[in-house]
């Protein structure tokens, strides 16, 4: 009996200790901000469906923060990043958000990854007045969701509009088809394209979808060939275009392949070889191999803090988010609150961190930091610039 009672006491103590509020919570003027530190939260996918993005975005952000911390932080405060893995599942994302906001008491949520996962915590963040800064999703939603959300770069919807304008106006093509991932990732661009085509009085000649883990696209290729499409817009990532192109060419079908930013990776060329020659893509930020002081800094930081990760658009994506955030922090000065940070973000105009792309806050009805994009094409096995940076028009799905 005695042994038993002791066990119960130990168990209870264990539970209380692990679950109860931490007695060492530091009192601060603003949540997540102390004299010496700013705590930033990020819910990302580290082991699930889009783990590659999560791991790299986290590394990119950490690289910036580590470098900044080494020189004493921003206005005397070091930045601490806390990330939790939500495995691309909304219930877990909600749990992690609560942990970050209520237990870890983060200042802001930054670079939250995934559209469904971020949507799931939107209301919660607003309720607790936690800024959702530069979420890592290229959905168009954040631009128009109110003061607590700010997006960063051009969305898939914006990019698809650009693509369609290019195809119709520059190339005079009318038979355009869409190859898209049948989830939120691909639908955003696909539907935006549909709307833009209507503007020109056109329609997709074929709408062919695929599931994320699909490995064979011979049936899609057959359908595209049958439709006689001159151009195929790829709402996909780097995995699918090589295979699709291969299978289309195998059937003697050679359309123009063109797609938004996720396909613009060296990986695409590596996987696709000669089949992806001539594929056109959209860049919304410069590639990691471009010259310039900002990218030199990026390459140095990644080499120093994450030497095992290859230089890649995914970690550069995270890196530029963190750089933007640091710039905003600089502008707020020492008096740092959530409101003052959001205010500082709106003051950013024509700011070029050193790579040719300029950030400008788009306005209250368009809360993104950049609407620029440019076209690139695969020439001789390398992504080559086709146009200069262009400002995109209003994007949108309907």
């Amino acid at each position: 009996m005695k042994r038993f009672r002791r066990g119960w006491v130990v168990l209870a103590a264990f539970l209380v200790l692990t679950l109860a509020r931490s007695p060492w919570a530091v009192r601060a003027a603003e949540v997540g901000v102390t004299d010496k530190e700013i705590v930033v939260g990020a819910g990302v996918d580290l082991t699930g469906a889009v783990a590659n993005w999560g791991v790299n975005i986290k590394a990119g952000m950490e690289a910036v923060f580590n470098r900044v911390n080494e020189v004493g932080g921003v206005h005397g405060r070091k930045i601490r990043l806390i990330t939790y893995d939500h495995v691309y599942q909304p219930p877990k994302a909600v749990a992690n958000a609560k942990r970050l906001v209520e237990r870890d008491k983060v200042f802001i949520m930054m670079g939250h990854l995934g559209t469904p996962t971020t949507k799931a915590i939107m209301g919660y963040l607003e309720e607790h007045k936690v800024p959702n800064v530069f979420p890592a999703t290229l959905a168009s939603l954040w631009a128009t969701s109110g003061k607590w959300h700010v997006g960063d770069v051009a969305t898939y919807a914006d990019q698809t509009w650009l693509i369609i304008d290019y195809l119709v106006k520059e190339r005079s093509l009318t038979k355009i088809a869409s190859f898209y991932q049948d989830d939120e990732y691909g639908l955003d661009g696909h539907l935006a394209g549909k709307a833009r085509l209507k503007h020109f009085g056109l329609e997709y000649v074929a709408e062919v979808d695929y599931k994320r883990a699909d490995i064979d696209f011979s049936s899609q290729a057959a359908k595209l060939k049958e439709s006689g499409a001159e151009a195929v817009i790829l709402q996909a990532v780097y995995r699918e275009p090589p295979r699709l192109a291969e299978q289309c060419h195998g059937m003697g079908y050679n359309p123009l392949f063109i797609g938004p930013s996720p396909i613009v990776l060296d990986k695409t060329i590596e996987l696709g070889g000669k089949h992806v020659e001539g594929v056109i893509g959209v860049e919304v930020w410069p590639p990691p191999t471009d010259p310039g002081p900002f990218l030199d800094q990026y390459r140095a930081d990644m080499q120093k803090y994450s030497p095992n990760l290859p230089l890649d658009m995914t970690n550069l994506y995270g890196y530029q988010k963190a750089a933007l955030f640091v710039e905003a922090l600089q502008r707020t000065g020492r008096d740092l609150t959530r409101e003052s940070l959001l205010q500082a973000i709106t003051t950013i105009k024509d700011w070029d961190p050193g790579w040719g792309l300029r950030y400008s806050y788009g306005g209250d009805d368009r809360r993104v930091m950049s609407r620029a994009a440019r076209l690139v094409v695969v020439k001789d096995g390398k992504w080559t610039k086709m146009t200069d940076w262009m400002e995109l028009e209003e994007g949108g799905r309907r």
Partner: protein
């Protein structure tokens, strides 16, 4: 013997008190996790009734969970019914679906049943995407805030108590079910269908009832979960979720109510304890899972029963469940 019974009662009361008091001493994050735990306990109870007691392997419970969740959400969104009505309607509808699914599954057993139910899960998941007009498809669906009789259940605090109440009620229902004639019929079917039939157990009736009740529990859990999380995405309700559910009842202990509770706790609480490990979390979790089953092949409840007997003389030597399926 008396010591055993009173010890068990003491434990239950103590746990009950701890659970009642908990939300007042911890933060919202823990309360939310607690609420999620209750949801999963409901699922585990349902699945255990079908697979653990009645011996019908099911990989289809992610589908029941999804049907419960989406039905409740859609009813709330389009018909604006009060929250509890939505959830109850969803649970009943899911039970009906379960019953209907049970019919063709009467002839199947073991692996084939597992595969058919898995197929059901994947078909339902795809239907959620195809019927985007009502389910919002891959965009995901927001669920309105629940209210009962004018009291808004918008805080995790309130949701926790609601779920605690529901779980306790359903636990008692399950307990009575298991100890009654239905429970005995289930066990008879699990152990030896032919013999059960010979003893007068109507296989078709009890198997479909098992499916229906199991689906009811899971649909109820799904409906409640929809309001708890507040957002639904068809992605979640797939193969992996079904596997998670099966893992819960096996790790916890088949044909055991305690096992359902323990298994759900393992699945919900352990990842949170490991959350700080980032990329290593999944690996450590997998290792712990393997070690747990290696050392406790009859599940957590099996181990507890064994040690309760060996060390304290409580209860009886646990009956070793026979192989299921074929």
């Amino acid at each position: 013997m008396k010591t055993g019974a009173s010890l068990q009662a003491l434990l239950i009361v103590a746990t009950g008190i701890a659970l009642l008091v908990l939300p007042n001493v911890v933060d919202n994050y823990v309360i939310y996790i607690g609420a999620r735990l209750f949801v999963y306990i409901l699922v585990a109870l349902g699945l255990n009734l079908l697979t653990g007691y009645a011996g019908q392997v099911s990989l289809g419970h992610a589908a029941f969970y999804a049907i419960g969740a989406y039905t409740a959400a859609v009813l709330a969104e389009s018909l604006h019914w009060p929250f509890m009505i939505c959830v109850l309607a969803a649970a009943l509808f899911t039970a009906l679906v379960g019953y209907v699914l049970g019919l063709p599954c009467l002839r199947l057993s073991g692996l084939y049943l597992a595969m058919a139910t898995l197929g059901f899960t994947l078909i339902v998941q795809e239907m959620l995407l195809q019927l985007a007009v009502i389910t919002h498809g891959s965009e995901g669906m927001s669920v309105p805030t629940p209210t009962i009789l004018g009291i808004t259940f918008d805080s995790d605090y309130r949701k926790y108590y609601l779920l605690l109440g529901v779980t306790i009620v359903m636990l008692i229902v399950a307990r009575n079910l298991v100890r009654g004639r239905t429970g005995r019929a289930f066990l008879a079917i699990r152990d030896n269908e032919r013999a059960a039939e010979a003893m007068g157990v109507n296989l078709a009736q009890y198997k479909t009832i098992a499916f229906a009740i199991s689906a009811l529990y899971t649909g109820l859990a799904g409906g409640l979960s929809a309001f708890l999380v507040g957002f639904l995405d068809p992605q979640e309700f797939g193969f992996f979720l079904s596997i998670q559910f099966i893992t819960i009842i096996i790790l916890g202990g088949l044909a055991s109510l305690l096992g359902s509770v323990l298994g759900a706790s393992f699945l919900i609480i352990l990842p949170e304890l490991l959350a700080g490990l980032d990329v290593w979390q999944a690996l450590v979790y997998g290792v712990i899972m393997v070690l747990t089953i290696l050392f406790m092949p009859f599940g957590l409840s099996g181990a507890i029963r064994r040690y309760a007997y060996r060390w304290f003389g409580i209860g009886v030597e646990p009956i070793i469940p026979r192989r299921l399926g074929h």
